[in-house]
């Protein structure tokens, strides 16, 4: 699944998620669900944090880990990271529907499609990003909560935030291709 010689995937482009900007509109879900690769199911999810007390929403999308736990635990070798750092959804001819990836992901991203007995996750819209376009969710997102572009661009656009792609889960450190925008000066996000 490595990018072929004819691919226009731009390795300088990164994905940035900024929860502060999210307005919970679900345009990303609707746009993601337009993709037939997902069987018209969104691979990105918007959730209220605590609707009883806030309208704050969060966006959950594959973080495309540098060392993806989902791929590491897959007994069927169905999940693969390509040369551009994109972690690809389970290869349907290999996936055995065991749910190891669902349990292993530190971010809780992969979902097993019970109907299809297959794991499905975000491919960073490989059909679009490999021809120089942005992923669909980050294209339509009206608030800039999802942004696809270069690190330089985001630093210029968001002077009060810094992108963070280092996550500490206890003693474990995870580096990801997807960045979370944090208050200026942040370098890592300690989850617990």
């Amino acid at each position: 699944m490595a990018a072929g010689p004819d691919s226009n995937f731009n390795p300088d482009m990164e994905f940035f998620v900024d929860m502060q900007r999210c307005i919970g509109c679900r345009a990303c879900e609707a746009a993601c669900a337009e993709c037939e690769t997902n069987g018209q199911e969104p691979m990105i999810h918007v959730n209220y944090v605590d609707r009883a007390h806030s309208v704050q929403t969060t966006v959950q999308v594959c973080m495309h880990c540098e060392d993806p736990a989902c791929a590491n635990v897959c007994p069927a070798d169905a999940i693969a990271k390509d040369g551009n750092g994109v972690v690809h959804s389970a290869n349907t001819s290999r996936c055995i529907g065991c749910s190891n990836c669902v349990l292993a992901c530190p971010f809780g991203v992969p979902k097993k499609m019970e109907a299809a007995e297959l794991m499905m996750k975000c491919n960073l819209c490989y059909d679009r990003t490999s021809v120089g376009k942005k992923p669909m969710c980050a294209t339509v997102c009206p608030s800039g909560a999802l942004f696809y572009g270069t690190r330089e661009e985001i630093r210029k656009k968001r002077p009060n935030s810094d992108p963070v792609n280092t996550f500490k889960f206890g003693a474990q450190t995870v580096h990801t291709k997807v960045n979370i925008m944090m208050p200026k000066g942040s370098t890592e996000l300690r989850v617990h």
């Binding site: 999210c22 307005i23 345009a27 037939e36």
Partner: protein, 757 residues
């Protein structure tokens, strides 16, 4: 055991509502045939979506932003969308309604031919000759029996500029009735009236680009994040650049959540807030004296009207802490660039115009208008709410935003239309008053296009009774909307993507709507339907337009010299420039993204006018019997009366039914628990909703979204009080009582609310 059906269908328990015999058959039967049904993208996508025949650049049909979008077309069917990255306003960004809008094409509910009412059966398809000849003979019969004005017309501003213009001309020249009004009466008229009083012109003063470096942005009564999601980009961008954001709203909406200053206003008290802020500006001399002295009028009487508006008094009236009001005045008073935005939250009141003027007074007092990053304006709601309100389908208006009672304006338009000025009808009734006149038996026949008043007008039990009194009702629509279920004839019209034209966005930018496909089956374009009706009514020569561009070219001439001057705008210029901002009075004129840079306003004396806007109470204050404030609004996944968006599965599922938002302290007072059913009762009706208990709303206020019809329609409850100037109804505040039913609602996912059965 609690009877769920009865709980969710109070109609059966209410004698006023128990007369569904007035529909040709049962609601369920109508729904089974004509929907709403949920449409989804098929698994694997629509045939041809991966290799479309063409991508058609056009605009979204939902909301005043009119985002650029490309529709994928395969074999004359819309099969998907592709973001239009080059269109400068939204650069590909879209909201969920925009993403899913294409699903209304190729929809199973689509009307493919005219249909007629058959008593006891419902509706059956008929050919165009039958539908047209019956419609025209009924129009003639009613008008010859009761007079021309006994046939009314209701229109709407999801229509293009061309169709809006054509409807205005059709009603006056072909139907010869004064009684034409439009659904903008429920939307932008308070802003329009206020802007005309203050500036002599009805348009936002700046393009959205001027938000970028505004240092203070004050948003009054606008849930921008849910109603105009793509505008949020500009607000957040301003915040990145250091802007302070003030939000005035009874609810903590997503745009209020991170505001620098949130003012939780008690519904119906906005003008007290604006008055107190103005008084603070005066007390602290946060005023632009040069601007006030040289470019405005009536400052003294305006500030005299609020001289007693102390912070303590304002806190008492508005429920906003005095400190917050002071802070807002200080932020607004001391900055050097600013943008004030407002929307339906302050406009849907019996003093909507006063609220708008209260905002304008703050802008004028500080002189921050007509300069870069200094702006003011209403956020126009409907798709073509801006253009549609300029070209003559308001009861008091002629094209170019001319006044139908002004002899010179009448003469000019009569000449353009080739009629005698004496034959041009005068001012007619506004939308709600027009329906009241039907109810009184004064108007006997109705033609509607692009208006679903049984959902969108307040006090809609009265609306339904009125519809049942009509001798003849013909509707033009692409779906059988909730109101058209009462029609005798429905003429199958065209979707936004099936008819060429132009629209004008909320920032005053005239954009090109391109036809992606032709109407399916025997459905026709709206222009061709109006054209044929006009011909059969004997006015064919006045409607001999070859195409939409011919209509636009006549509109250009008709608008020439008016305040909304489109004369210098052509289809070619629009396409070449990603739209043109009006006014654009000459072909070599570039258009006007920012108004008032020359400080010459469009009023007769050329000055901007302050207007006194003293506080008065809403039409129906709370009392012992009805102790709770009811306010209404919108959710992000639905648009207007839902006749389009309640048919798209992916827009229905995230928010399947209207929920009653209520604060935990009020819920506790009534013994209401999360998701339990609550009957909301006003002097006009009652309806039952699941409770959603949230701390994001004022403790004295409950909220309902209004997009649904039938037994869960929020507008059964709202009040028909009108603003004396704009005639906008008071959707945003009335008094209610809450009766907890003590039983949990069934899961939202099982709700059939979208069907409005």
């Amino acid at each position: 055991m609690f009877d769920m059906q009865a709980g969710l269908r109070p109609r059966l328990q209410n004698p006023i509502q128990n007369d569904m015999a007035k529909l040709p058959t049962s609601v369920d039967k109508i729904v089974a045939q004509y929907g709403p049904h949920k449409a989804y993208t098929p698994v694997g996508g629509f045939h041809g979506h991966a290799d479309p025949d063409k991508l058609v650049k056009t605009h979204c049909c939902f909301c005043g932003m009119q985002c650029g979008i490309q529709l994928k077309v395969k074999e004359n069917t819309v099969v998907g969308f592709e973001p239009w990255m080059d269109f400068p306003f939204n650069e590909g960004r879209m909201c969920p309604k925009g993403v899913a809008r294409y699903l209304q094409n190729n929809h199973p509910d689509r009307l493919l031919s005219p249909i007629e009412r058959v008593e006891g059966e419902g509706f059956r398809p008929v050919d165009w000759e039958t539908a047209m000849s019956r419609t025209v003979s009924e129009i003639k019969r009613i008008q010859s029996t009761y007079g021309n004005n006994a046939f009314g017309m209701l229109s709407g501003v999801s229509l293009s500029n061309e169709l809006s213009y054509m409807v205005g001309k059709f009603a006056r020249v072909a139907l010869k009735t004064a009684n034409l009004d439009y659904n903008g009466r429920l939307c932008m008229v308070s802003a329009g009236a206020g802007n005309k009083k203050a500036f002599g012109l009805d348009r936002i003063s700046n393009s959205w680009a001027d938000l970028k470096h505004a240092k203070v942005i004050m948003i009054c009564g606008s849930n921008v994040s849910e109603t105009f999601p793509t505008l949020i980009h500009y607000i957040w961008e301003a915040r990145d650049n250091g802007a302070k954001i003030i939000v005035v709203d009874p609810r903590i909406t997503p745009v209020a959540r991170t505001a620098d200053l949130y003012l939780p206003v008690r519904p119906g008290t906005d003008s007290a807030l604006f008055g107190a802020m103005l008084q603070q500006l005066v007390e602290n001399d946060w005023l632009d004296h040069d601007f006030i002295d040289n470019y405005t009028s009536d400052f003294q009487e305006t500030i005299d009207a609020v001289k007693d508006y102390s912070l303590e008094w304002a806190e008492e009236v508005t429920g906003i802490p005095a400190e917050s009001i002071k802070k807002a005045a200080e932020l607004w008073g001391k900055t050097d660039t600013s943008f004030l935005l407002h929307a339906r939250g302050i406009e849907h009141h019996s003093k909507g115009v006063d609220n708008v003027l209260g905002c304008i007074n703050l802008v004028l007092a500080t002189g921050r208008i007509g300069k870069p990053y200094c702006g003011y304006g209403t956020i126009t709601g409907q798709g073509n709410g801006q253009g549609g309100r300029e070209h003559g389908h308001k009861c008091d208006q002629l094209p170019g935003n001319r006044d139908i009672t002004n002899p010179e304006h009448r003469k000019y338009i009569a000449d353009v239309w080739g009629i005698d000025e004496k034959d041009l009808p005068g001012k007619g009734l506004t939308a709600y008053e027009l329906v009241e006149a039907i109810h009184r038996g004064e108007i006997k026949g109705l033609i509607s296009i692009c208006f679903n008043p049984i959902v969108s007008l307040p006090n809609n039990n009265m609306v339904r009774e009125a519809l049942e009194k009509l001798e003849f009702y013909v509707a033009i629509d692409f779906f059988l909307n909730d109101t058209a279920r009462h029609a005798d004839i429905v003429l199958a019209g065209a979707l936004h993507e099936e008819e060429e034209g132009t629209g004008t966005t909320a920032e005053g930018r005239v954009v090109k709507i391109n036809a992606a496909v032709t109407p399916p089956g025997d459905a026709r374009t709206d222009a061709s339907i109006l054209k044929e009706l006009a011909a059969r009514l004997g006015a064919g020569d006045k409607f001999a337009f070859e195409n939409s561009e011919a209509i636009f070219n006549e509109l250009r001439v008709a608008s020439k010299g008016g305040t909304a001057d489109y004369y210098g705008i052509t289809y070619e210029k629009i396409v070449n420039n990603y739209g043109v901002f009006w006014p654009c009075p000459a072909l070599d004129h570039p258009g006007t993204p920012r108004l008032w840079e020359d400080r010459k306003f469009a009023t007769p004396d050329g000055k901007a006018h302050f207007n006194p806007a003293p506080y008065r109470e809403p039409g129906e204050p709370t009392d012992k019997e009805y102790p709770v404030i009811l306010t209404t609004g919108r959710v992000v996944s639905q648009y207007l009366s839902g006749t389009q968006t309640r048919r798209i599965g992916r827009l229905i599922d995230p928010y399947p039914e209207p929920l009653l938002e209520i604060h935990p302290s009020l819920a506790q007072q009534f013994g209401i628990k999360e998701r339990e059913l609550v009957k909301v009762v006003t002097r006009r009706g009652e309806a039952t909703f699941p409770a959603q208990i949230v701390t994001t709303i004022r403790k004295d206020t409950v909220f309902l979204p209004y997009h649904w019809a039938g037994p869960i329609s929020a507008n059964q409850l709202t009040i028909g009080n009108l603003d004396p100037v704009s005639k906008i109804p008071e959707f945003k505040v009335c008094a209610c009582k809450l009766i907890p039913l003590g039983v949990p609602a069934p899961p939202s996912s099982e709700s059939k609310a979208y069907q409005s059965a």
